[in-house]
Amino acid sequence: MHMADALISPAVGGTMWAATAGLTIYSAKKLKNNLDEHIVPLMGVLGAFIFAAQMINFTIPATGSSGHLAGGMILAILLGPYAAFLVMASVLTVQALFFADGGLLALGCNIINMGGFACFIAYPLIYKNIVGERPSQGRILLGAMAAAILSLQMGAFGVVLETLFSGISELPFSTFVLLMLPIHLGIGIVEGLVTAAVVSFVWKAHPEILALAKSSASAKAHSHKPLLIGLALFAVVAGGMLSWFASTHPDGLEWSIKGVSGKEELEAPKEGVHGAMAWIQGKLAFLPDYDFKKPEEEKEGKPEEGKGEKKGESWPEVSAGKSLAGILGVVMTLLMAGAIGFGLRRYFSPSKG
């Protein structure tokens, strides 16, 4: 679910970065006020624990595949929302830097998708309300499952929205949603089971562990602040994106809506999977268009709906002469880059010969 820089635009990346930065500063402030200084080393090693635990797999019977833990919910349960958010952010940062698991500009998106929703919405809204002050095995299971499923669905939805508003990928809203959400429903169920199992295990051994989360969260036992912040954030981000999108692509909003409800040339998607599959098939069966006039039309007029294309992005000009020049230029650039690189290498590490 980690988003790559290649698929986002600066506007989307920047917006989500701003949201992440805001949440990070807010969480840090909250922790400073309620600092049980035990939490400092605890956060660090729990982050490392999540990292290590993610690399342990279990076989899922009858599928032949394996699953593993994502960890956002466990962190929220053990540390409370603010500390857990910071820990998730740190884990994702290390993954982005060392494993190219997610881009640096997209890091803001990933932190919100995989940390923000879990800590500030799913945890306070679902888990805490279900499990409450007196946890039991059953309630832990129910709470963890519901919270994990919700947070993963929201995260997956976030990925869809961020990709959509970036305009780099052609995937239309409904296709993408149909790809992401069911898969992450399955993943959410697994995550919920793992979370519940591990939390129960630890809770049976050390019941006081679950109390730490309360002491590091805000003073009031049932504060809804984290939840309100989460929802407000979600609203601001979604609203901001929508308005940005609408302003730069006046037809864009219309287009997206059409994209969800179906284009004129194709059947509107019927209910259920069949309708969606038929719709997808319809799009894919579209014959490639060898119409020479097409690019010129696009240049003059507004982007048309249907045919699954453009949203008013600026176009590279596509005359034959220009494309040849472009290709020549690319080749030249590559050759020069190669020469420079080779030359520099010899200069800076002569021992490598």
């Binding site: 279990f58 290390v94 230029g329 650039t333 690189g341």
Partner: protein
Amino acid sequence: MGNIESSLLNIGYLETLSYQQTPLHRLDPRVKLLTTLIFIVAVVSFGKYEITGLVPFLIYPVVLIAVGNLPPGYLAKKILLAAPFAFFIGIFNPLLDRAVLVHLGPVGISGGWVSFASIMIRFTLTVSAAFILIAGTGLNAVCLALDKMGAPRIFVMQLLFLYRYIFVLTAEALRMVRARSLRAFDGRGLGFSSYSSLVGHLLLRTLERARRIHLAMLSRGFDGKIHLLRPLHLHGRDVVFFLGWSGLFVLLRLYNLSQWGGAWIMGLVQ
């Protein structure tokens, strides 16, 4: 299990790379961080059909990999390994966007393929930039840069602690997984209940360790406030690096050097 070992090796290797003493490594980490971000924003800000304008940006990774003595083969492997997500989203573009955009002689290339190629080029560029940042700077220095640039101290410490204990905890997890696999036969014993028990034990040990670390910190006078004693000094070469590269990125973003170069060659030929 190979997963754990290879991850450990990967982090260890990147760290070893960051200890080299090349001109790249000696630069101020704040400057490297900012330059990387500007690079990524410039690359990502192109329209989705851009290819020729992107290619000149390759100069940045090429130069820094050479100057910083970083292994290009290793980077290439990394890019390939990380590519699937971008690839599988990107591959929908040629499927969905079939209107011909460009002609190479008699062959028409659809917009979808062009944007797909653009995606893969962006991917290569941005992953390279992140690699150069971490291999040419090291996480400790990056954290220091973040701290000096205003990130909350507790987040910076979190990153440092996390990094510090990744090795310890992954080694512990590795031992446990090895021990389990030696007693698992015919695929039995690797299922969910042994897994949750293993992870549960690892978590308990982690909590215990956190308690001991906390005691060790208290024993040396820790009162909640974390002190970092590492001053950073900006030198002329740092400023030159930053202004030079940022200026270049802006230039390349605004003017398509590939087109110019190619048109110039064609002009020569004619």
